[in-house]
Amino acid sequence: MTSNTQSEEKKNRKGKKPLVSRKEFLQIAGSTGAATIITQLISSGPLSPEAIKGIGERTHPFAEGESKHTWCMIIDLSTCIGCQYCVWACQATNDVPEDEMRWNIGYPERTESGTDFFMTRPCLHCQEAPCVKVCPVGATWIRKDGIVTMDYNRCIGCRYCQVACPYDVRRFNWKPSSAENPYHPTWGTPEIDRRARGVVEKCTFCSHRIDRGLEQGLTPGVDREATPACVNICPVNARIFGDHNDPDSPLSIFVRENETFRLREDFGTEPKVHYVRPEKEEI
């Protein structure tokens, strides 16, 4: 570079107009250099997608390393009788006193061919969860075992996750929740703390049960203590919970042997809740 500028100076002294003036040369060299550095930074350097991947997730427990498990749920709409026990058990166990705050909702539905059925929907725990991608503080993250969960102490209440979720899964604490839980003790006992005003909350697949159960050597989906409340309470076993990675789990066997579908797969969200069509018996 020095020799270049020197030769330019020589040309200048001779009085000829140089092809590129020193100022222009420095500008071109400078911007080319800057562009190269920036390209390097964002392609393979410290700002590259690989380098910054999961920067906000690393501080979370369970986000590090690999998990042997992938927790999934099956909801058999052809078996469901619409008793709503799963809805109420969820409200009791996760301490959701208000009905409009339900994590696991249920409502009457009808198929296109006119068959009435009862639709229930917990969080679908998408593998490509839009809510996880959009959270500006990483308060929602996906665990290595596939559960989409939240850090209520980190959430700033911007509600972008609600805007992003296409399944209307998320609930915001618009007001402080001080009401008595009408579903306790009939449908269960609260097992987690109630959330504060101003944060979003969501279904966790009762991850507190799964984590504690695994520590005790139990199998979620088989042992009741380690299984989500909505699955346990179902009187007709319309919900199956288990490890999709374990080929011998009741869930994996069911998925292999039955036809299931997921809600709006075209969204590209890869939900981990699989449904069985309501008309199964009639076909």
Partner: protein
């Protein structure tokens, strides 16, 4: 044609000033009381719901940032591209930009559920989130705006007791090209990302398109120029003086017109490609739902496109029309209205017509609804009052405009 004269006679200026400031202070106080109520009672006092979690305040936030885009536009034009003829309006643009960004922050501070955790995005990073990137850019850019404002502040009588500050101010001012470059990068990033906030959501067909970020930045450039010029002409009219030369005023009007034209061109193709020449079941369903339950057709076609886009573009690009102050002020005002309407339409459309995920037929007719409550409205008015107050004091006590005709050329 009669001269367009709305100037206030010299003898009643003092009175008019106090009436104006008094009114704004009253509105600001009402808004502040509304804000206190929000902090005490929480967001239950809004009309928002889990289905429509963003509404009036997010619209205000997006519009303030969009109409504050004159700051980066003129800074880049004057200090980076060295088109010196626009210099006389650069200060006003920066000042209007600062007011826009601070208004947006006020709206956001109320809108988030936990304002005490506003700093979390700085500490807890999620680089996958466009909102994280926006937060960083907006904070950094606000710092740039403050630095660009400091020289104006240090020139005032109040600061003359510390003569050193003025020197510092001049030193800062020398770095204007650097600020302009940083400001340009930051603004291009976050103004576009605000559109990407909606554009990246694959689950909502009416939003999910790569054109949204580009439309947001183009409309922000048009809106930012329009807001700055409109206020400049208005202040001049009220004080019966021509703040910037007529030629410069026409040039900037044309500039705004071209920005609007570019935006409309993109919008035309956005509409044609997604709704006319093709068919997307999700978007079609959402539009049908919007048309049957909301005045979306009117707010989109009539207010946003025709009144807020086509009409001002015609006025500002027609040499005869833009030379008429009445028409050009109308056109500039319409651009601001159109851009604000756009932010409202975009925000609400994807939420009020949610994606249909229920596997049956009964769940498919659900549309959400939203109407701002009086509490939301008075807070919004309060924030607008803050913006107008800040602008009025700026005009009176800071040299945001060239002081004499000479400097204006």
């Amino acid at each position: 044609m009669a001269r367009f004269d709305i100037s206030i006679p010299k003898e009643s200026r003092q009175r008019a000033w106090w009436i104006w400031i008094g009114t704004l202070l009253v509105l600001l106080s009402i808004g502040a009381m509304g804000a206190i109520r929000v902090f005490v009672k929480g967001l239950q006092v809004t009309g928002l719901s889990d289905q429509v979690p963003w509404g009036l305040w997010i619209t205000q936030d997006l519009s303030s940032i969009a109409t504050g885009a004159g700051a980066f536009t003129f800074s880049a034009v004057v200090y980076l591209f060295r088109i010196k003829k626009y210099q006389p309006i650069a200060r006003a643009a920066v000042f209007v930009g600062f007011i826009g960004y601070s208004s947006a922050m006020l709206a956001l501070a109320l809108d988030i559920g936990r304002p005490d955790r506003f700093w979390h995005p700085l500490v807890f990073w999620n680089v996958h989130s466009v909102l994280w990137e926006i937060t960083w850019c907006v904070i950094l850019y606000s710092i740039v705006l403050v630095l660009e404002l400091l020289p104006m502040l240090f020139e005032t009588k109040y600061f003359s007791r510390w003569p050193k500050l003025k020197t510092y101010g001049e030193t800062i001012h020398k770095a204007s090209p650097v600020f302009a470059a940083i400001g340009l990068v930051l603004s291009l990033l976050h103004q576009s990302s605000l559109g990407a906030t909606y554009g990246v959501l694959s689950g909502r067909a009416i939003w999910y398109k790569p054109s949204l970020p580009v439309m947001f930045i183009l409309s922000a450039v048009a809106g930012g120029i329009a807001m700055t010029l409109l206020l400049t002409i208005l202040v001049g009219k009220l004080n019966n003086r021509q703040i910037i030369s007529r030629q410069l005023q026409y040039d900037i009007s044309r500039f705004a017109g071209f920005a609007m034209l570019a935006y409309l061109y993109l919008k035309l193709w956005d509409w044609a490609a997604t709704s006319y020449y093709s068919h997307s079941p999700g978007a079609t369903q959402a539009l049908a739902l919007l048309q049957s339950t909301t005045p979306y057709t009117q707010t989109f076609w009539w207010i946003e496109i025709l009144l807020g886009g086509v009409v001002p573009a015609i006025i500002l690009l027609n040499p005869r029309l833009r030379r008429n102050d009445r028409y050009s002020m109308l056109a500039l005002g319409l651009i601001v209205v159109g851009v604000t309407m756009n932010r409202w339409n975009v925000t609400l459309s994807g939420l009020v017509a949610p994606p249909q995920w229920s596997p049956g037929v009964l769940g498919r007719v659900l549309a959400a609804s939203y109407l701002p409550t009086w509490n939301e409205i008075i807070v919004s008015i309060g924030i607008i009052a803050y913006a107008l107050l800040a602008f009025s004091f700026g005009v009176k006590y800071l040299q945001i405009f060239p002081q004499n005709e000479e400097a204006a050329h």
